[in-house]
Amino acid sequence: MSLLAVDVGGLTLKNPVLTASGCFGYGLEYDDFYDVAELGGICTKGLSLHPRAGNPPERICETPAGMLNAIGLANVGVEAFCRDKLPILRERGVTVVANIFASSVADFVAITERLNRETGVAAIELNVSCPNVTEGGIEFGKDARMAGEVTRAVRAATKLPVWVKMSPEAGNIVAVARACEEAGADALTAINTIRGMSIDVEQTKLRLANRTGGFSGPALRPIALRIVWEIAGAVAIPVIAIGGVSTTRDALEFLLAGARAVQVGTANFVDPSAAKRVLDGLRDYCEAKRVDVKSLIGSAR
């Protein structure tokens, strides 16, 4: 087995570097830059049962070493994804994690059942933590009972590995993580963005039409690292880390804290090849130190 392969809840990834949902489109926007099949995987833009136009502008603004976004889960819908995007990804050998979003348990199950009919989906990631939509979203992820209920329903509806994306806004995130594990999740992804705000003092108004937006980028990293550490210490299933990973060093921090894999998010906006850079650096690191990546996981604990 290669130095970089990792096992994530029954799914072997060729390396532990993925891209985060919402920060990588559908993986088809990178033809000019690199072959995304090289990555451990890509998490699609959050897919809903029906297409969504998203929130009105302004949707984004920059903050110190980070940014706020309130995109509102604009996406083509699961049907168009299966028809137009997935066949190309499958053909190219991309490891596809379908990130899905719904405002009811029944719709989460309906999207899952649609994905069951396709080949080429490696895992399903449940977005129970979007801070930017009024219905559903984060409400599922803040509460251990509700997060467990969604997880259990999707678990029962598919043979695919089920990952659950954690909200940092849960009062007790460890309780939510344990509830998802108990409900049959194969892995946990942590963390989604944290709600933030920004005000334009010249125009004396909020910068985002949605008032609040999800805070991401390098400034988020220490908080994400702390939460990943806590969750990884509390559950037996793998944890996949997200939160301000821009460089190989950042990825290593999360792996050493106990994450089984990492997702590169906002950094893709700064450099379309960011995830590839993180991966190449990780390979160099493992080769130079003559270690396989599995032996690094959790070794700072």
Binding site: K45, G54, E58, R59, E62, A65, M67, N69, K205, D271
Partner: protein, 278 residues
Amino acid sequence: MSTRVLAKRRLVTLTLLRRESIGGLYHVLTFEDPDGSVALPGQFTMVRGAEWGDAPLLPRPMSYLSAGNTPSILIKVIGEGTLRMGRAEPGEPFTLLGPLGQPWRAPSAGRRVVLVAGGVGVAPLLFLARRLASAGGPKPLAVYGGRSARDLPLDDELAELTELHVTTEDGSKGTRGRVTDVLGELLAPDREVFTCGPDRMMAKVAELCAARDVPCEASLETPMACGYGVCLGCPVPTTDGAYVYACTQGPCIDARRVDWSRGDHAPKKGVHAPRSKP
């Protein structure tokens, strides 16, 4: 709208060859690109100092002022990113991602081109004017406006390439008023307009053109994080009630498709509660 086959996008680290301070808040940054940029007029690039570290985090979308081995951009210092660009010294490395977005459509045969620029929006129009000049043909007409004479960067160069009308709101140069005050008399049926400037200006230009049935192409400006179609941060409302993304479906777009009522200072209904201003 037909989508042309566009050049491959590259992220390159280029050295700043020179920075010319051209008065007020305006600078022209010229880079050294040994491979040569194949950007077309109207396309843009995401620019960031290679040594900025984690802040400012995001690259800034900038229209190309020129391409080739010395691609250049025109900047106006308005925030932290442009402040650093406005202080940059030759030799400093920058990353440029480009060429991005839809260029200006090719001017129609038999129509005379009218360029309508507001302030820093002159950049993609000046690039177009240079291309038109090197292709020969009649000189385009142009209207260029700003608050005052200080807000007309590169007006001398535009004057060389076009039959130029200048307007300033304070009357310090050209006709006192706005571009739309003089545009009306230039809108003959056999003309077509290319415009770039503040939203409110372009909205009014689009309205005048629509009323006279003169084709109008606008270059959109919105905040954006990635510039290549994945962040979805740059939606622009369209007349059919949907959105186009300025980065990939724009920035250059038929002005009739845009719902200009979005205006950059328009109140966002149902979003911001009324509140007293300090």
